[in-house]
Each structure stands twice: as C-alpha cells, then as structure tokens.
C-alpha cells in the first residue's frame, strides 16, 4: 500500500493546496476545528465541528445587487468554479454524513447548484478511528472505525506513517497526483486489526432498531416536555451536527445596493419558524426539541431513507446540559416501551 511518513504530511498538503481547497482539522486556541488549510494540520483529535462547512459554508454571499428605478437592477457575484475541495481527514462518521447531505442537496426536485458544484469534484480522505472518544457511538448506526462509505481514500495510521487506500476514481486521481510524496510497500495489518477491535462502549447503551416506527405514535408523548425542560435553546448541537442542513436566506440592504446571503439556521432558535404575522408554530422549547429529534429519527427516515444521525457524538460534546442524540435515543426508548 502507498504510504507517507507523518513528517512529510505537511509538504504533501502544501503541495495539494495549489490545486485543491484543503479542509482539515487544526488546533485553534483550545480546540481542534475543521477549517481551510493554513499551514497546520492536526491528525490526532476529532474536531469539534464537522466538515459540512466545506460544502455548505455557514455563511455565503449569493450575489450583490445594485440599482435604482432609473438605472434598473444589476446583479454581480454569484458562484464561479473554485478549486475542488479536498477533505483531509474526515472520520468514517463524517464521510457517511456527507452521503446523507447528498440526498438532501443533490437528489430530488431541488438540487442545489453550489453544493453540487463543490461536491462533484471533491475528494474525501478518511482516517480510520483507532481511538474513538467516550462520546462516539457510530456503530449504533451501522458505521464503524473502519467504515468506508462516503470516502474516496481511506487512510490507516500507525505510529510513523499513513497508508493510503484509494477507493474511487477521484481518490485514485488524488493519490496519483501525489506519488512523489508516497512510498510503495507494506500493508498496515495490525492497524486494520486495531480498527476492527476498537471499542465504543456508548453504542451498547443506544438502541435505534425500530425507533422511527416507534416515534410515529409519540408526537404527543409527555417525554418531550421532560427532555426539553433543561434545553437552553442555543443552536450548538445543530451547528456542530454533520447532518443538520437548515439554512435561511436574507438580504443586507445598504441604500441602493446590498448583498444577499445564505447562512445556517437552527430549529432550536425561537425565531426559526416565526411567521411574518407573528405566529410561531413552534412556540416553546418542547416543540423545537421535538422537531430536532423527530427530524433525525423519524422524518429523515421517511424522506431520505435513513436516520439523520451518524453517532459522531458532537452534540454530546457541545451541549452544556446533557441534551443530545444519545440521551434522546435513550430517553425515547424508555418512554416508548
């Protein structure tokens, strides 16, 4: 298998960044975050955020408009083909999550041009998870430390080297373009074995089989009141979730010109469903918390054919009051039995 010494990784990424937009984890103050490559990479920690921002940026300008009744309206900006995106070191949960976002943004009647353009030429390089965190439970969703769904290249990491296994044509292209940095030889058998053995104790407490069907009849269950009582109503869980995709579009007018943006939005915010007339169909945290988990574990299954959760545990790490996908699945199971 082709491999690279970890010492040479930065040179490879620096070279890659001339023809790719590299999205990778790096140390930012006290945390490790996914972001555009700026000369450093962290290959150890699992970042606090997901890599969805590479394809669905938190904020992006759609266009700038300018005009008066006399001059007429002109639009500038818009989306031009940028360098293809390289996700360097997704985790198996991240890669799988991208396939779920694809169903939302690429399939059906409303394919999203920008998402499609970024995603079409992207390469996702995923590293096997040798040390899952206390908060990891991907195996509850049929993913695992060595799952390859959604990846173009899979990487096995031992103490000194990274072994590259191309899985798709795009992945093979990426590897071929960096042969100068890679050496031939060896199969990381012990790493593969380690990945198979990696334990996720949390997954043993989580039960998802039949959850969607069970929730069909739980819309009015008192458990939502109990779960939401401690919710602080921030959007941390949704913004860090690799499968949450809601956004809103808004204008920033400045007299005779302005910009139109789109930005992530969160179903946990009080104004998410606020109507122009002042009516709010989800007036309290109970309705908002219910919406979040019903979307993940019921509506998503009906619309996209799968749970919209990959067990990455980011909401567990993000929530300051312990209200997250794992606790919800646990509480819902207790309530529904």
């Amino acid at each position: 298998m082709l491999h690279i010494s970890k010492h040479n990784l930065l040179s490879l990424l620096t070279h890659a960044s001339s023809s790719w937009q590299v999205f990778c984890p790096s140390k930012q103050g006290s945390t490790v975050n996914f972001g555009w490559f700026e000369g450093t990479v962290d290959t150890v920690a699992i970042p606090v955020n997901s890599c969805k921002g590479a394809f669905l940026p938190q904020t992006e300008e759609l266009f700038t408009y300018r005009g008066t009744p006399e001059t007429g309206l002109s639009l500038t900006g818009g989306f031009d083909g940028q360098k293809p995106v390289l996700i360097f070191f997704a985790r198996p949960c991240d890669a799988r999550a991208l396939t779920l976002l694809d169903r939302v943004f690429l399939e059906g009647e409303y394919a999203d041009d920008r998402y499609r353009s970024r995603r079409a030429r992207s390469v996702v390089v995923t590293v096997g998870c040798k040390s899952p965190l206390d908060t990891c439970f991907c195996t509850a969703f049929g993913i695992g430390p060595d799952s390859k769904a959604g990846s173009d290249v899979f990487v096995y990491e031992d103490e000194t080297s990274l072994y590259f296994e191309p899985l798709t044509e795009g992945g093979a292209g990426f590897v071929a373009a960096h042969l100068a940095y890679l050496a031939e030889g060896g199969t990381p058998v012990s790493v593969m074995e380690e990945l198979r053995r990696a334990e996720l104790p949390l997954a043993g407490r989580i039960w998802v089989e039949g959850m969607a069907e069970m929730l069909d009849s739980m819309f009015d269950h008192p458990v939502w009141e109990k779960m939401s009582a401690r919710c602080r109503g921030c959007g941390a869980c949704t913004y860090l979730c690799p499968t949450c995709y809601c956004f809103s579009v808004f204008d920033a007018p400045r007299g005779t010109h302005g910009k139109r943006y789109r930005s992530w939005d969160s179903c946990q915010f009080s104004d998410f469903m606020l109507m122009a007339g002042g009516h709010n169909p989800r007036p309290t945290r109970k309705e908002r918390v219910r919406q979040r988990f019903m979307h993940k574990f019921n509506y998503g299954v009906k619309r996209q054919g799968d749970y919209l959760c990959v067990g990455c545990g980011r909401c567990i790490r993000a929530c300051s009051v312990g209200l997250h996908a794992a606790s919800a699945l646990f509480d819902l199971k207790e309530a529904g039995r």
């Binding site: 606090v48 206390d134 401690r230 921030c234 941390a236 913004y239 920033a252 943006y261 104004d271 794992a326």
Partner: protein, 314 residues
Amino acid sequence: MNDLREQLKEAVASAFSQGRVRSFVCLERGFYPFATMPAILHSGSDADRVEIGLADAPLLAKYLLDMPKPAGIVVRSCDALGVSRLIRDRRVKREDLYIISISCPGVVDTAKIPMSMHRITALEKAGDALIVHTALGPTELPWSSVLLDRCLACVSGAASTDADVVLDDGRGKPPAPVDYSEIDEVEHMAPDERYAMWEKEFAKCIRCFACRNACPACSCRKCSLDLPEPEWLSRAVILPEQFMFHFTRAYHVAGRCVGCGECERACPVGLPLMKLNRKFTRDIETLFGVDDARIPRDVEVLGTFLPDDPEEFC
C-alpha cells in the same frame, strides 16, 4: 457527601409538602456516569432524583425565569450569585423563590480526567485528591487539577443571596484568591497582537448563542439580537458581525457579570469569553474602588451615577 445529599432530598421534599414551592430546579444524574444535569421537579415525590453534583454540574439560576412560582432552587455559591443577579435585575422576585444553599467542595470537570468515562466505576473525593476507581484499581488525581475552571476562581462565602435553608457539611471549598494574571497578559500584548488574537478567536465562533443562553446576566425577555426588525445583528457569520456580537454581549453584562464562567463552559468551540468579562470586572474594581465586582449589590456601579465617579473621557 451522601449525608449532604440525604439532607438535600429531605429539604426538597419538605419544600413541596409544606407548600413552599410549585416547582424545584436541582441537579439529577446525567446520561454519563457521574455527570449531572438540570432537572425541574414538580412534586415532592421526585425528590429522590436530586443529586449534589460532584461532576459536570451546570448552573441553574436561569431556569427560574420560566418555572411556575413559587420556585425552589438548590444553589452553590457561584449559582447563588446568579440568583442574586436575576433578583436585582428584577427578573424574579425574592418572595417567589425558595433557596436551599449547599456547601460545595468544587465540581469535577470530567473532561480533565485522563481516562475513559466508561471505565470508571466510582469517583470519590478524599482530602485534596480525586480518587478515580476503575476495574483495574484506583487512580489518585490532585483535586485542583480536575476542577471546572470556574471553581479555580471560587467565590465561596461571598454569596450574598440569603437562603431559606443552608446545608453545610463543613467540606466546602475555601474562596480562591482572585488572580488577574491572565488579564494582565492580554493587557500587555501590543494592540495589533491583541487584535489578531481576538480575530482568531472570534473567527471560530459559530454564533450558536450558547454563551448568551447560559448567562444569568443575559435575561432579557426578548434579546435585541433576536429581533428581525431592526436587525442589529445580521445572520451573516462574518468577522465584523462576530466582533459586533461579542462586544455587544460583553458590554451588556459589564457590571453585572457574576463571574460564574457558565458562558465559557457552554461555548462549544472554547472561546475564552471570561477574558473579556474579567477585564470589565477588574476595571470596575480599580476605577470605582469596589471589592469583588462579581457580587451583585443594591447600588450597581454602572447603574448608578455619583458626582465623584471617574470621568476619564472629559
């Protein structure tokens, strides 16, 4: 510790049975072993759920806003300041509250325990150590190395909210000396360097509002930043808006911040928000000669005009 918990359960149950409260906010067992989370009780029969909160205890004061009154609350000294803040900001009335104060040895931050939570069978405080029991035997960690950051600046004893019941097992943490050295460090940075630091930090902000929503001093019925009209803060997560948000937040709580650090604990991307808050707190102490500006008082330093106030801009 168990004794204190038994006393607390009894006190909560009797608050309900005596008709003193309709609801009660406390901690209960969290999803993770040894972690705790907020619980809002509606009956004395739920009192068995009450936990002291040895580890990962969120602060509770802000839940009082939405609870049926009269409402009960269990506070440790940091949380007591939050309750006091809400009372002085006229968001809750003292007569609508039933306050049980407990002594607190500090709260463990499980993220600072260098081993898998799933392998731990028990956590125990013994003197100046945390003993972590696992199947492979116990490990001893220095108590101060595993505490939440807020406990390192504990206001113990300074809590000014009068409690209805005080439960003290004599094992409470002594107050920590106030240490502003990290503020000094920021102040001594060159302006460009300091700006670059904040730029880097704010660039990480995902604008989830966890800091605002956790803060007992951020208790407006409707936050101006949530208003669709006028749009003070746009949804665009771009650097100028990040500065706008963070300075608005910090200035809004200046003079009212109780130093509990719950904003920083709630921040999912680890912004050092207390550096801003504590800078204001120290400035207030220095400029107005106030002793420990975290403690809410009847005459608010920034809410009162006195003829001899410093007027540095004149």
